[in-house]
């Protein structure tokens, strides 16, 4: 505490009348403007413009042409295949991710750091390498692959290979979202439930799962987006058989290389729309459960 009258001789009345101050965390208007312009500009050039171009190219010869191209058997088979691959790999990785995050955060054991690194491996390995590894392991030239083909269950150049590649590439998403949340939450709520007589499974369903559901949702959405969009690993294992093992991204590339730009961009627009749909879904859920989100968050 100091006596404010002490300052008076140092300041002229005019300076007193208009004290220049602003919150310490605030920037000058110019800095603000520049920063906002950079952010919006970046967003426009890097995100909005490419997206707009895709939709514009798709509709270049009219909406009817775009829809017709999507109803062709080749496009239709690609759409079905992509949806099947996502429908299998997302639940598989949700279960894997929960199990991995649970094991890592709730128990202490040797080799934990190694396990965490292993979970990150698909992020650091190029998808093409992952695809090649699957081909070497399960391809017709390997012992295992030869036997699988002979017994009528081929993996490479078939649906199981595409699913395996997608599962591999999207493996880290759910676990990576869950681990920090579960570490932050600790174990005491689970312990409390146990002392109240709940079985392990009941504890998981009534305490753990509600606590991680938002992180799980983000993980699942990211996983889904990547599973539908994966190109590199799938390109190697699928063999790109038109109408059979070509997913949406693969088909888009093939159509584009054949200068069928309306067909290519229509399919690309549909793929982008699926991604936008998942984002919209997420935002809607957040919006509808805003009160609940606020209530369960820690202070």
């Amino acid at each position: 505490m100091y006596d404010s009258t002490l300052n008076e001789p140092l300041l002229s009345p005019a300076e007193h009348a208009a004290p220049k101050w602003r919150p310490v965390t605030d920037e000058s208007p110019l800095t603000k403007l520049v920063l906002i312009a950079i952010a919006l500009g970046g967003l426009a050039v890097l995100v909005l413009a490419p997206l707009a171009v895709v939709f514009a190219e798709a509709l270049a010869k009219g909406a009817a042409a775009a829809v017709t191209s999507l109803t062709k058997p080749e496009a239709w088979s690609a759409i079905k295949l992509t949806l099947i691959v996502a429908a299998v790999s997302v639940p598989v990785n949700a279960v894997f991710g929960i199990a991995a995050a649970w094991t890592i955060t709730k128990f202490d054991f040797r080799g934990k750091a190694f396990l965490i690194t292993l979970i990150d491996l698909p992020f650091s390995v190029s998808p093409v390498v992952a695809g090649l590894a699957l081909v070497l392991l399960f391809g017709a030239n390997s012992v295992l692959g030869g036997w699988l083909v002979a017994s009528g269950f081929p993996i490479v150049f078939a649906l199981p290979g595409i699913v395996l590649a997608s599962v591999f590439v999207t493996f880290p998403f759910v676990a990576r979202e869950l681990i920090p949340v579960m570490i932050e939450q600790g174990r005491t709520e689970e312990e409390a439930a146990l002392t109240l007589g709940a079985s392990g499974w009941r504890v998981f369903l009534t305490v753990t799962l509600p606590n991680i559901k938002w992180a799980l949702l983000y993980g699942v959405l990211l996983c889904n987006a990547r599973a539908m969009g994966e190109f590199g690993a799938v390109a190697v294992v699928s063999g790109k058989i038109r109408g059979q093992t070509a997913t949406m991204p693969i088909t888009i590339e093939m159509l584009y290389n054949e200068y069928l730009s309306v067909a290519a961009f229509s399919l690309a627009a549909l793929l982008a729309a699926l991604a936008l749909l998942t984002l919209a879904l997420k935002t809607m859920l957040e919006w509808r459960h805003a009160d609940q989100l606020a209530a369960t968050r820690r202070h």
């Binding site: 146990l194 109240l196 007589g197």
Partner: protein, 239 residues
């Protein structure tokens, strides 16, 4: 319920949390485990509750060996240091949790659950908060809800880990009385952990002073004050 701690020891890897300790806890007593952090008091409490298992030694409940009894089967009402209320459930659902978790044949009907939760809310003198979420409660209210939740399972004993640790001084005094009253009404054997010697001396029938994983002294508060058994006890209660 009478609790007998018989030569319990606990090691975590290379560190020894508890040297073999023995302690009889008479039925219906209110016991304080008093000591600085790292004295092993919380470990001992968690062993009683079945959240940790001892490296060696036995725990007897009314003369029966309960060392290997699972946490669910112990029926120990446990109040955690930060209360560990379920954030996504209302106060009502928090308290009802233990009743709903029972196997189907021993699970009370919904009307009975409601009756019991209401009664417990009256016992903790918070009858009007059933519909609130934990983050809408004050620290003192949370503590009492945690106590009601632990009592809902009709526990055989009550175990509390630093039950007043997160509260300010005034609320702390009030809730000490609250715990004493609940103990006297229910007659449950109650063990609580604290590092605050005033709290232990004021509240407990029996104080167990611990240090470095060993029991330094066991006695009534006035006896410990009058005749500290070791230099550690003398220094600790003088602080």
């Amino acid at each position: 319920m009478h609790i007998e701690i018989d030569e319990i020891a606990k090691t975590f890897g290379a560190t020894t949390a508890l040297h073999p300790v023995s302690l009889p806890i008479p039925s219906g007593a209110l016991v304080a485990l008093l000591g600085p952090s790292g004295s092993g008091k919380t470990t001992l409490l968690r062993i009683l509750g079945g959240l940790e298992f001892p490296t060696s030694g036995r725990v007897l409940f009314d003369g029966q060996d309960a060392t290997g009894l699972s946490v669910q089967d112990r029926r120990a009402g446990f109040v955690f240091q930060s209360y560990a209320l379920f954030k996504h459930m209302t106060v009502f659902e928090n308290i009802a949790y233990g009743l709903r978790a029972r196997p189907r044949r021993s699970r009370p009907p919904e009307a009975e659950i409601e009756r019991r939760v209401t009664k417990l809310l009256e016992l903790i003198q918070l009858p009007q908060i059933a519909g609130r979420f934990p983050n809408q409660l004050s620290g003192g209210q949370r503590q009492r809800v945690a106590l009601a939740r632990a009592l809902a399972i009709e526990p055989r004993m009550l175990l509390l880990d630093e039950p007043f640790g997160a509260l300010d001084a005034r609320v702390r005094k009030e809730l000490r009385h609250g715990l004493r009253e609940i103990h006297d009404t229910t007659g449950l054997t109650t063990v609580f952990v604290t590092h605050d010697q005033d709290e232990a001396m004021e509240l407990a029938d029996l104080v167990v002073v611990m240090s470095m994983g060993k029991i330094e002294q066991v006695g009534r508060p006035q006896d410990i004050r009058a005749r500290p058994a070791t230099p550690f006890v003398r220094e600790f209660i003088a602080a």
